[in-house]
């Protein structure tokens, strides 16, 4: 969480010139990760972890020219150790353990309205970092004292659509602020890859943020829903001494939560 605050402090000074900044609190956000993959040994092909934890997000939007805006969005969850299991249909290969998943994501884009429309389009880039600390791993009932730290990373581009409805400047009234985009990861990385296999480095993601609320002067108080899905495909694969899986090549993460937000507009 300290890193989140540092990131926020990094972005706040430039934002004070113009635009708006917003903080989001995501209560008990559902973070579902599912890893799958196929290796030349039989030690496992899927793992799942579904921790629910609070998360914080930060958004900064700034006009850079007439009808051209930039937006930066950052989100991070509060990590903790939670139950992880895999291969549940096969008792000899069944795996259980604890994993602590940390999710950091930053997106930055340029956006511009459509002609005669309340909608606009955006094009941007996204970077994501996802780390897993695994311990207390049982595989087929056999324990291991080994722990492992896996770090996934991905960089990609996205195209999306947004709509923004605001009361007159410094006025009072309802507002809405919504966006949705689809992206493609061009680069992916995994630190745990004893067996890399033939898997390609690619992936994709989509996200939607639906937000509405009330504006009074320069402040907005809102609520909404954030939904993301990320598919990070990367050469990966490692077996722990007891045969358990420590990393998998196909990593699908669903991130979904309602939120409340506070926005300060200049």
């Amino acid at each position: 969480m300290k890193k989140s605050l540092l990131m926020a402090l990094f972005f706040i000074p430039p934002a004070l010139r113009a635009g708006d900044i917003a903080l989001y609190y995501l209560n008990n956000a559902a973070l579902e990760w599912e890893g799958t993959g196929y290796r030349d040994n039989p030690s496992g092909w899927e793992l799942k972890a579904k921790p629910e934890a609070d998360a914080l997000a930060f958004r900064w939007r700034q006009p850079v020219a007439q009808d051209l805006y930039t937006q930066v969005f950052y989100v991070r969850n509060k990590p903790y150790y939670s139950f992880e299991n895999g291969n549940t249909a096969d008792s000899t290969h069944q795996q259980t353990g604890e994993t602590r998943m940390t999710f950091n994501e930053v997106s930055a884009d340029l956006r511009r309205p459509l002609e005669d429309s309340s909608f606009g389009v955006m094009v941007g880039g996204q970077g994501v970092s996802q780390t897993f600390n695994r311990k207390d791993v049982l595989f087929g009932g056999t324990p291991t004292s080994s722990t492992v730290r896996e770090a996934l990373g991905a960089l990609g581009g996205y195209i999306g659509v947004y709509t923004l409805g605001l009361p007159p400047a410094k006025g009072r009234g309802y507002y809405w602020d919504m966006e949705s985009f689809i992206g493609h990861y061009f680069w992916t990385q995994n630190t745990v890859k004893d067996y890399e296999g033939s898997m390609h480095r690619n992936g994709f993601f989509y996200a939607a943020r639906l937000e509405a609320g009330w504006q009074a002067g320069q402040m907005r108080l809102g609520a909404g829903w954030l939904r993301q899905e990320l598919e990070i495909i990367v050469p990966a694969g490692k077996a722990l001494p007891n045969g358990a899986t420590a990393s998998l090549p196909d990593n699908k993460t669903d991130f979904s939560s309602p939120f409340i937000s506070v926005t300060y507009a200049y």
Partner: protein, 271 residues
Amino acid sequence: MPTKISFLSILLLLIGSVAAAGDLSVTVLPNASIRYEASAKHIPITYTDQFSGENSPVYLIEYTQTPTRQGYWGFSLMHTGVYGNGRYGNETVPDNQTGGIYQTDRLNVGFDDVMATYHAAVKSWPVEALFNMSVIRRFDYRKDFVIQGASQGGFDDINEQSAEGAGVGLTGTHGQGRFYARWLAYMNYYILIADAKTDTSYGEVFQAQGGVGLRLWKGSAVEFGGLRRYWYYPGEDHEIATPDGKTAFDSWERQVTWTTGLYLRIEQKFL
């Protein structure tokens, strides 16, 4: 040969039916590289397949209403496969149980992508936003099976899978004179509502293309460029029995297809 004739007939029919107004274009990638990568848990025999790739023609027919800044619709059909003179590559399935090779066959990876697109102009720029709805039908043709060293004679197989999706993109055309440059990129997210051999799942198409064109006369233009298309989707592994009682693999859980090539595009505006 009949398949080639039927595709040509459809093409000519489409051209004739829409030639009253709007823009019609035909894009051909005469020798596109079709690469395919797949993996699944066909336990304990195998986890992956290996495909040599193939080079096949790819066709794209597009019709749009007359473009306006207020927005307009377009429709397109993209095709590659044996109906369009597609070629076969070598597919190999390793045997991870006993070592060696479990299955070899000849594979053609084909698909049809029918897309409806709404074009909306970006404010004051020569750029359009694209809002797509698309249905892809995939056809994998396999023949010349050899399983555990035994030829399966004339046994062949067609595996079909569908995906329905929507997405967004951007396109721009720059240059008002005789020469112009055009680019396009879109990303579609897919779900699989109903198909032949797989469960409901998801996936993505990312396509980017760019080229330079020459405006000829009376609304006609010719364009040269390059295209790359990435299609990833998780399906479901599937096996079939051959007449000799062998098990042949014809579908995988994680499937990726890359289509890459140079294209020639001919466009005609009907006023």
